[in-house]
């Protein structure tokens, strides 16, 4: 039994997001293992013999949905014949626990070379996580990983604490979800919690803009580099000259292709796209210098105004778009307004004076400036805390968990294995508030 009473707790912290699973030692300033949450797999063959598991032989791996899984650095990004990819998260919540436990095992055992049964583990959860989900997570930790102690903490609260604030309005923009969480004295105000799949919309917009032909250029092929056998340098804007790897095209699955195309689009967004600081203005957008970008096919071009159109989706939707699609995810100002409206009027000023910006999606060029311009229109005193260091922004939730888990005094909050055995699932809801 590990003694976790002293300051040397050596706890592990795991933060599961849509884009990556972050795992590391509590007390560190960066996670040791950052692996993609998306994993590759080959489907289990529908062979009637293998479908009947041999119960008598426990050494055989349990047959799951997947015949073989590919995770981590050499996982989904490596091309394999017939490999499908999948992501166990949907709207920030885990909907399939089987690959999640495999991903956590990969991060802890294969990357960190750690034995999970020797360390207390702190897991983070989004504020809209369901009680059933966190209980399932506790069950996996205690029953499968045999951890000595476990705790599950809210990413919104951890981000607020990491910024040194007990009360704050946490704006978290991830890969698929954007959320606004009001935190007061270390607790989430449930009624003010709002979230939408806004980053997905921005991504889809960028994808459409690149792939669809327009008067200036034809549609851009988003072939990943794994499918290209050779390419020639071409003039800017000229059609690309490249040869596909015919041997690979046939074995490429639609899911892998879609996932990699999405990565190409993300890459483009991260290096080229931006958002105007003071709201949309054609002249300002035209006066900004264009940026060059080259795709894996060798096609390269300058992107001028259109790179700002992408970012604009985060803050403004045209009335035409709203009319044609009633289920459009809410943009950031709408989320903030809705969140504040649900809060007590006296709290609103406190919250906008303590805005914490976090999540990898918030690193979008110009995001912080635009947000402060938007907020300054409606509130007299706005202060946005946005760490300049990208690591602090992307792994904010993990970092908060890392600090909390490293405190010796935090030990009375851990759920120990004995307590789990005695009280069962009930204790998770009681202890982790």
């Amino acid at each position: 039994m590990v003694n976790y009473g002293g300051d040397e707790v050596s706890a592990l912290v795991i933060d599961i997001g849509t884009s990556s699973v972050r795992a590391g030692y509590a007390g560190d300033d960066t996670p040791k293992a950052v692996i993609p949450t998306t994993f590759g797999y080959h489907k289990a063959p529908l062979d009637p013999d293998s479908a009947m598991p041999d119960v008598a032989d426990p050494t055989q791996p349990r047959p799951g949905k997947f015949a073989k899984m590919y995770m981590g650095q050499y996982g989904p990004s490596v091309w394999r014949d017939g490999m499908e990819v999948s992501n166990p998260l949907n709207e920030g919540l885990i909907h399939d626990f089987e690959p999640v436990s495999a991903l956590m095992r990969h991060a802890i055992v294969d990357v960190m070379r750690c034995n999970p049964s020797e360390h207390p583990i702190l897991v983070t959860e989004p504020a809209w996580n369901t009680p059933a989900n966190r209980e399932r997570m506790a069950e996996i930790m205690f029953e499968e990983f045999q951890v000595p102690a476990f705790y599950i903490a809210n990413t919104g609260v951890l981000n607020a604490f990491a910024a040194g604030k007990g009360s704050a309005l946490v704006i978290d923009v991830g890969q698929t979800m954007a959320s606004v969480t009001p935190i007061v004295d270390g607790f989430v105000l449930r009624k003010g919690l709002v979230y939408s799949t806004l980053p997905k919309l921005v991504h889809a917009h960028a994808h459409h803009m690149l792939a669809a032909p327009n008067p200036q250029r034809r549609g851009i092929d988003l072939y990943p580099h794994q499918l290209i056998s050779n390419k020639m340098p071409v003039e800017m804007g000229a059609p690309p000259r490249f040869t596909l790897r015919e041997d690979r095209v046939k074995g490429t699955t639609a899911s892998w292709r879609a996932w990699y195309e999405a990565r190409e689009v993300d890459e483009w967004i991260q290096s080229v796209a931006g958002v105007l600081e003071q709201g949309w203005n054609d002249q300002v957008a035209a006066s900004r210098p264009p940026r060059q970008y080259e795709f894996p096919t060798g096609y390269n071009s300058w992107f001028a105004q259109e790179r700002f159109l992408v970012g604009e989706q985060l803050f403004h939707h045209s009335s035409q778009m709203l009319a044609s699609n009633p289920t459009l995810p809410k943009h950031i100002p709408a989320l903030i307004t809705e969140s504040l409206r649900a809060c007590d009027p006296e709290l609103r000023q406190v919250l906008v004076g303590n805005v914490v910006l976090t999540g990898g999606g918030s690193l979008f060029a110009g995001f912080g400036d635009r947000l402060s311009a938007e907020l300054a229109r409606s509130f007299p005193h706005v202060k946005i805390h946005s760490p300049g260091n990208p690591v602090e922004r992307r792994y904010g939730g993990w970092l908060g968990g890392s600090v909390l888990g490293s405190l010796g005094t935090f030990h009375q909050l851990w759920i120990s294995k004995e307590e789990w055995m005695e009280h069962g699932k009930m204790i998770v809801g009681q202890r982790c508030k």
Partner: protein, 138 residues
Amino acid sequence: MSSGVAVNPECLDQYNALKLKKASKYIIFKINDDNTEIVVEKKSDSQNYEDFLNDLPETACRWAVYDLEFEKEGAGKRNKICFFSWSPDDAKIKAKMVFASSKDALRRSLVGIATEIQGTDSSEVAYEVVLDKASRGA
């Protein structure tokens, strides 16, 4: 959620002395070096608000209580005890995190606080800002 850091009984004694006997003007609290307990760092009876601000370090977190005395127009003198959470942007993440998650323990043990102020830079703890906040509820 809290960090489980305990409050040293001296904090409460000093606070009660400030509240009931006006023994001091302000008290500054901090967390001891091994992050286990909240202790009194300093108490002072200086009437100058600047002295108080100078006692808030630029790169470290603190809590403070300040006995604010002011004149309310046409309603005479008022005394309000203000609670400050001082957590400058330049402080270490770990310090900020521990202070934010331990605040509740201290705050709850101090009875009779009128106003709470969260400060990350000097503009947020300036005298006018604090006075405005305290006098609003007077």
